[in-house]
Assembly symmetry: D2
Homo-oligomer: 394 residues x 4
């Protein structure tokens, strides 16, 4: 098909050409004497993305799913109690994994469209007088529903309860796009994948451990080898890795971090907020609702849009892809057929999202949903115009 594919799933995200070029390199020896000149600054600068000075970062040749396992198995022992909330497909999968890995998972069902209930979390922690709960697992941005939870609030709940549980955060679809403060919020493990805010292909699990989390590795009895942070620590100390790393992804990550720090994290977050708000204006102009039930849950990286009763969101995706070469995110599991998703994270600008909005509108109309032609674009673009930085007159 002529022309580009329009990729607006909430990850993997569009890769900037500068990153694609940075990854197009001849192979090289990962044991060469000057390899640490690449690795050490990379591990150090990655801490800036996690907004930490005290933590320690890891780059595993794996995916975000592995990140979940790395967090659990390097800190806990089978049978340990962990607390979690299920409010979407990805919070669900982490819970499921914790069960399979032999932990004692206590979880609460939350309506899909909401996030972590801070008051009930605090109450539960306070009730845990013996501090049986060893870790709290929080999905910062539930990609399936477009819901962002309040991490600072989780920390407050832990502190209010005087609870020492480890605080693990899945930041796969938030880190590098939505504000995430490892140190300030007392997060013990933050984890991300390379294919979302980092604008890279999948293939890296990026983690940050607090010292407290690191210290538990000695007592953790969960069996692990490929995903053991100890091997990484041993080799990272010298600027190497325990197994052959992906050279292209390391150079890509170097470029990604340079782009993010070059733009400035506050600017990156503000850009995501502004682009997301434009999409939300379009949704409102269409007369539709988000899956996220309240503005406080609105995600700046993905919007899950509820189609009206009587329509199947899969038809919207079908027409979008086959007629207009537009990839939208599907509704998963509980919300299958009920929502479609527009990912608005990574390397994006206003006019790119115009393609997503215009295409979604066309596909909805093809499906029979009576949104007004041009209404989404009008609302989004007027918002973006009003909030665009001033430029000098010609």
């Amino acid at each position: 098909m002529p022309g580009r594919n329009h990729l607006y799933v909430p990850g993997p995200t569009n890769i900037p050409d500068s990153i694609l070029s940075a990854m197009h390199v001849p192979m090289e020896d990962h044991r060469r004497p000057d390899f640490p000149d690449l690795v050490k600054p990379l591990l150090e600068d990655l801490k800036k993305i996690f907004q930490t000075q005290n933590g320690q970062c890891f780059i595993f040749p794996a995916t975000g799913t592995a990140g979940w396992e790395i967090a659990l198995n390097n800190t806990l022992s089978p049978g340990d109690k962990v607390l979690a909330y299920r409010f979407g497909q990805f919070s669900h999968l982490w819970i499921e994994m914790a069960n399979r890995l032999g932990f004692d998972v206590e979880h609460e069902e939350i309506p899909w469209g909401e996030g972590v209930p801070l008051d009930r979390l605090e109450a539960r922690l306070k009730a845990d007088a013996k501090q049986d709960i060893k870790a709290v697992l929080i999905c910062h941005n539930e990609t399936a529903t477009g819901v962002t939870s309040d991490l600072a609030g989780v920390r407050k709940a832990l502190d209010a309860a005087g609870h020492s549980a480890l605080f693990f955060v899945d930041g796969v679809s938030s880190i590098a796009s939505i504000d995430f403060r490892m140190d300030e919020w007392g997060i013990d493990i933050g984890l991300a994948g390379s294919q979302k805010g980092f604008m890279l292909p999948a293939g890296l699990a990026l983690l940050c451990f607090s010292q407290k989390a690191l210290d538990t590795r000695q007592s953790a009895k969960s069996r692990r080898c490929f995903l053991d942070i100890q091997d990484q620590m041993t080799h990272n100390a010298g600027g190497y890795f325990p197994y052959t790393p992906s050279i292209p992804l390391l150079y890509g990550l170097r470029k990604s971090i340079d782009l993010l720090l070059g733009e400035g994290l506050p600017n990156v977050f503000a850009r995501h907020q502004r682009l997301a708000e434009g999409v939300r204006r379009a949704v409102k102009a269409w007369g539709l609702e988000l899956c996220a039930r309240d503005p406080k849950w609105y995600s700046n990286t993905v919007s899950a849009i509820v189609v009206p009763q009587g329509y199947d969101a899969r038809d919207v995706m079908h027409y979008a892809y086959h007629r207009y070469n537009l990839s939208l995110g599907a509704g998963l599991s509980e919300v299958m057929g009920k929502v479609f998703r527009i990912g608005h994270l990574g390397d994006l600008n206003e006019l790119m999202l115009c393609s997503a909005i215009a295409g979604a509108e066309m596909a909805m109309r093809d499906t029979g949903i009576q949104v007004t032609p041009g209404s989404g674009i009008a609302a989004a673009c007027e918002y973006w115009r009003e909030t665009a930085p001033a430029v000098k007159l010609r």
Copy 2:
């Protein structure tokens, strides 16, 4: 700036990723024994793009401007009379070149926004009883005004006048995008650049000569060396070039031709027509006029849009570029400040053009032009929806 640049100038055009990859090759010897396996089919398949069986194609390591000179200097002698029409910047420049190269140029001034006046052309040719006019220079698609002239009509005029003048066509912004029939229309030289419908970087002048045009090379007294087709003919016969060719561009051209023939030229032309019509619907919905004064002149590769009195089109371009990373085409020379242009040729689809339309609308509103928000997108998208190929139900 994050996100892609939105490139909608009427050339150079967006390069498909598959062509960029085809050009990313190690260097190789252009005199290697099997180099003709690349060159010979390339020259042969290029004829299909020019829709010729009798013509001979040339690939010069130069640009479209060189193409003009190649046409003139390989066929004519200084002092020879040529007939041309000026109705835009590019028809103007060809005329200017012909003057500088010592030809006797007779030209008619045509209002910018119109094309070749077939009746007057026929009359002029009939009046040239002695056949002093050696060549007629036609700019098929005047890129500056978005006007396409009727080449079949030019041939009819020549035939009606029984005139033997050579028929030269600048097809830089038409060939590979708008129907162009070398043999059927009796064109003697068609010329293109690589950076428009061929979706490549600039750097190749692509020409096709009829046998009649080829035959004149012996008598043509214009001095030439780098741009002499004889050297190309001598070396092309063996599958080589007289000077070092650009290896990446040859592989890029190979891929370009494969893409064009793979889509099918009629489909390529129909796609350009349909995409262009969507843009024109947007212009109409905005309440604006095209520079092209009549639908018969409408170009399917570029639309020059007239801004209302009291506004400067350069402000639209200024805001488009600096606020939204959108590159629009400028009004050139006579229409400077009066029009801006949207190029809609090459590797494009509907949702790419939505970026151009939405961005143009935003920039016009920034300029103070009171187009209705979303109106352009609504009109274009509804047209595209109605004309999109049916897809199977899910």
Copy 3:
């Protein structure tokens, strides 16, 4: 430094430009409807590389180390007895992993430079009357010493003993370079990484399971989640993956398999044999010894070359890298300082290896080792000349 780096470590290997280009692609949705058109043929054609019709292949977003863990954890339960041989760093690491994962590892120490002792293996299996040994772990090509073991012989030993133990093979530095016959040799799990014979960056663990191995997944009590083949099986059935795959690596693998099958596996193996033999001729001409103690152990993918007493192989590597931009493989662990290694696998030809041989010679002479200048090249090149395919006279 001007000019290319000369990469002759035994992995990661030189990536052909055609694979680099195949990986330079825009991101795409791994859940798009036509994604299975990429995935299903890939999984099917991968079987051809493992030379299997009955097995089932897996593509994990991880590395060869993960492959070891996938093999063990998906088939066995903690406490299960496995039998292994230690004769180099990689056979050592697999044994170490099996211990860490809780298996009962029985291993025999073999002199580094030898491979699997088939007679003792057969004796041990025969002695295991109760069939307590659940799996035999074989490192096909010990990358640290340049030793290839006889897999057909292992199968014979198992059969002779009438033993039903699973037969697991680390083929990281053999598969796609050295003959490897999953079905014919009754291998139960073969595993490879992407960064050796597949000529890709690291980042994929490529495995093949026999039906017998697959069947054990139900009874295997080892805890696993990220590396569980069941999740892959569930999603692979539809042509998808359980977690976001690396799009570039999938396209790279597609190209890799196309290159390998295009050349023909027997030709690939013969090329590796011939190139390796040239290197061995050079070593002999230098008057040096291989770490591999007998021709029957000689590896066709890597040669570990013993430096004379009184010299440190690390000096050779040091000069090679810093003076001549040549990356050689280090001696690891027991053979550190005693050997340096030339990797001769992947996308290679004779004249590429001339750089490795000439550079190794220069670096040895810089170190003080008195090899005769040009002797290695003379021996290797004469061998290659004599065995080069005939070409037509000019």
Copy 4:
């Protein structure tokens, strides 16, 4: 064929990966407001490569052949007398062009293998009392024979004769590889192509004009348009070009100049000298002669090697290419079949040239030429070892 092609023709040269990546960019508008930020420093820094402060550089979208024509047509009028020397295929072609373009060419035949005869040049200039000779055309490095002429000597001859003729230099295979001093040597036009020392694909004619040369453009009556420097000057002043430039080549040139200035021109020249000397040592060790008849003519960018009587150098090239994937340079015209050439310019290091030397040796032996196996490598490598920069002990 597996493995890389070994490209050792004297241009086009191997392109460094960093330049290939720099050229792999999305298309962009060559009239964008910030385009001069790319163009102006490029034109300025290009002057450093020509070693000029007073000259003005031009970047034409053409080739070195066009460069010859640009030099002649922008400064002279048909009938003007020029003086030249023919001692190889490229000095021949420039003379032929000057004839075709209508100049009065006086040339002297020099044995192929020698360069400009300074004493006879000086004598001829002194004899030209009326200063009829308007320009002297010098081929700095005759690529066909591997002969470098003495430009400082030419300037001395002009000065000794008190002659005001323009001094034009074809530096296609010298500039950026061999010392070339525009200002110090009073050169009036220096010209290069992109595909040799600049390590780019063909497609750019790079020129530098002295003020004296620039001034002649007004009086020069040669007809020109595409290759007219006036159009370039008009547009370059604002940071633009008169016709669409190749965006990839501009970024490639940016990278090329950065690499050259980063290494430092004196280091670039010294590296070429040292690599060339290694090749010459190999030739001597083979017992063969260079086409260049005296060390003072030896070229540091290309060596033309004479095969012994009774052999055809084309056989050497044939075997090199078809058996070993090695591209050597052919003997052209007068020396066809008598010499083959090794290009040693551009992005090269010692071990790359080892491939060329070893491959040439193999191909000569295949041809029946009895060079001693390994002798060339031994001589070259020992020279390179002795002259390699010291490195710190490990």
